[in-house]
């Protein structure tokens, strides 16, 4: 029996943004770091993402947005998770995000924001240090 629990991650692209290269690279990096990664693909509504995160019992949701709608989309996912009793799931985000918005996102419950050019291993290190799977029983 493993004493170390597997970290489960959902990688999602909310909204009408077709740029999924970054999300795919991060998903693949997470896989190679030994995480179990559920990839949900493009054009997800916050509702779809929150429901998938709960069904999959992930420990972390990674959102990617390059359309500029991150403030609404990211914070709506956080709000829905809380509303559905899953506020303990860590949510992080990435994409083209102006510096001014980072503080607003963090204030709204996004635990960390990663900008273009960040090395994969820095994201992975952050996850390993900040995400601890919880048991129910």
């Amino acid at each position: 029996m493993d004493s170390e629990r597997k970290i489960r991650v959902l990688v999602a692209k909310p909204g009408l943004d077709g740029h999924d290269r970054g999300a795919k690279v991060v998903a693949r990096g997470f896989r190679d770091a030994g995480f179990e990664v559920v990839y949900t693909g493009l054009h997800q509504t916050p509702e779809q993402i929150a429901n998938a995160a709960i069904q999959e019992d992930v420990d972390l949701v990674g959102l990617s947005c390059l359309s500029g709608a991150h403030l609404y989309l990211f914070l709506e996912v956080v709000r829905l998770l809380k509303e559905k009793g899953a506020g303990d799931i860590t949510v992080i985000g990435g994409g083209i995000i102006p510096a001014d918005d980072i503080a607003k996102l963090k204030e709204g419950g996004i635990k960390e924001v990663f900008l273009p050019g960040v090395p994969l291993n820095k994201i992975i290190k952050w996850v390993k240090e900040n995400v601890k799977p919880l048991r129910v029983v």
Partner: protein
């Protein structure tokens, strides 16, 4: 017994069910307890297995089937299995990407599962997951295997109805004639039927099915042409699934299949329990230790296996006997039998002095540790094969090992034999190995102080043993004449002072009290 969690799951709470599923996947014993509670409420759902090569369209077909079943007001569970990396243990679970439109439907519960090293096309926890969804009240549970080839037919063992998805252009009629999954499917779906060769594939398949002679079964599998992405042929496929379900019930085949499944599940539960019991008795690294002996042909796998199993069974027996007659506390302990919570930081304790009670104190700590499922190793120095009462009982307790070094008589400090030194050094080597192994939380080195004082051992070596010990190991040294250097590094030092001893009145050592 209905716990809070059981009730939530029976009411269909997705969050509770999803969390329990993770714990089941991780093989947590308490989660299996919850499954015991849910089991009586299972057995109602129709389990559909969907298998086929990578890329034939299994996920897309399931997505279309979900819509079709939802029109019939059925509640759906989906378990989608994808492979884990044999190199990193990670996985990319991408099946639900085809089913995302059902994410906002509260009656559709999709769960992705990684194989975690399990072969056969499914993950180990698949059956447990099916039970949880079944208990939630799902009418249909669809299990999607990893993209599988020819012989991954585990899905047949868990499904009431097994569907093999094929696509044109993936092989000639010889492929159709091969053994394995081709023989086992109840329904064939030829997906991507708009592509060239779909009709030819259907003819080949049907001629193969016509030749088939499946004993004791009146069911003739059909091949259905589908184009999942355009939602074509899906109603026919759904109708065929329902026809198969009706056949299963009317023919008694459902009962037969479920009996087979129950047998399989019981066998697996027995194997799992025995395996975790073996692990708890022998510690996790027992394979590594025994491998050396096997490679050097000092022993053989067959007799070792026999010994390990009989040892484990006797310990299992004892703990269940304790459980029956024991107090509530015992019952609680039993539940957490396999869960160890080592001390965060181990210390060094010394019991020394000329009074009685040094080893007894150490043994008391050992007993306490065992009671909390910590793992203990006691190494006796200078006390050979003498009939100490505690040894009789220690070898019967779980989570404790003893090693004995020394001749079968007392050492005379004025006349130390080479053999005494050799034995003590062997003991020290063993101590080093035990402390560093990571298999033990508490290590007791009984009479090591005397062995050091009488120069059987070098105090510097003992000092080094203490300095190199892993942080979490609690180390206990007993015996008179503790070396001042050891006293200095220890965290706890207790000196037993003799005020009276019955020996002075001529009373010799008494069985059951002194040894």
């Amino acid at each position: 017994m209905k716990t809070k969690l059981t009730n939530k799951i029976l009411r269909g709470n997705i969050r509770a069910a999803a969390k329990l599923m993770s714990d089941l996947e991780d093989g947590i014993p308490e989660a299996i307890k919850e499954l015991e509670n849910l089991y009586p409420y299972t057995g109602k759902a129709h389990v559909i297995g969907v298998t086929g090569s990578p890329g034939v369209g299994k996920s897309t077909l399931i997505d279309a089937l979900i819509s079709s079943f939802r029109k019939r007001k059925m509640k759906i569970g989906v378990i989608a299995v994808d492979p884990s990396s044999p190199f990193t243990g990670g996985a990319l679970l991408g099946d639900r990407i085809r089913m995302e439109r059902h994410n906002t439907d509260q009656e559709v519960f999709i769960r992705s599962l990684a194989t975690r090293g399990w072969s056969g096309g499914l993950a180990k926890a698949t059956i447990s997951m099916i039970h949880v969804m079944d208990a939630m009240g799902k009418d249909v549970i669809i299990v999607e295997t990893v993209g599988s080839g020819q012989s991954e037919i585990d899905v047949v063992k868990v499904a009431d109805t097994a569907i093999l998805v094929l696509a044109p252009g993936m092989g000639d009629e010889i492929q159709m004639m091969k053994a394995g999954i081709m023989e086992a499917a109840d329904i064939f779906a030829i997906n991507k039927a708009d592509r060239d060769g779909a009709d030819a594939l259907k003819i080949e398949l049907e001629s193969m099915l016509g030749l088939k002679n499946r004993p004791n079964s009146a069911w003739k599998p059909n091949a259905i042409l589908t184009q999942a992405i355009y939602n074509k042929g899906i109603e026919e496929l759904a109708a065929e699934i329902i026809r198969h379900k009706e056949f299963l019930i009317s023919s008694g085949e459902l009962e037969r299949r479920r009996k087979e499944r129950a047998k399989l599940e019981l066998t697996e539960a027995i194997e799992d329990l025995l395996k975790s019991c073996v692990d708890s008795v022998l510690g996790k690294n027992y394979l590594d230790k025994l491998a050396d002996e096997l490679v050097n042909r000092k022993t053989n796998p067959y007799s070792v296996a026999c010994e390990i199993v009989s040892q484990s069974i006797s310990k299992l027996n004892k703990s269940s006997k304790l459980n029956k007659s024991g107090s509530r506390l015992m019952k609680k302990e039993k539940q957490s039998h396999f869960v160890t919570e080592p001390c965060e930081k181990g210390l060094v304790e010394i019991f020394t002095g000329d009074g009685k009670g040094k080893t007894s104190a150490a043994l008391g700590i050992a007993l306490r540790a065992i009671g909390h499922n910590l793992r203990v190793h006691i190494i006796y120095f200078m006390k050979g094969d003498y009939p100490y009462g505690e040894r009789e009982v220690l070898c019967r307790l779980p989570n404790v090992d003893i090693s004995i070094f020394g001749r079968d008589c007392f050492v005379d400090p004025a006349d130390v034999k080479a053999e005494d030194k050799e034995e003590a050094e062997k003991g020290l080597r063993k101590a080093r190995e035990v402390i560093q192994s990571g298999d033990y939380d508490v290590v007791i080195l009984d009479e090591i102080n005397v062995a050091t004082a009488w120069k059987l051992l070098d105090a510097n070596e003992v000092l080094e043993l203490i300095r190199n010990k892993p942080e979490k190991v609690e180390l206990i040294l007993t015996g008179r004449y503790a070396d001042p250097r050891l006293v200095e590094v220890a965290d706890l030092v207790t000196e037993a002072v003799k005020i009276k001893h019955p020996y002075d009145k001529g009373i010799l050592s008494r069985k059951g009290v002194d040894y």
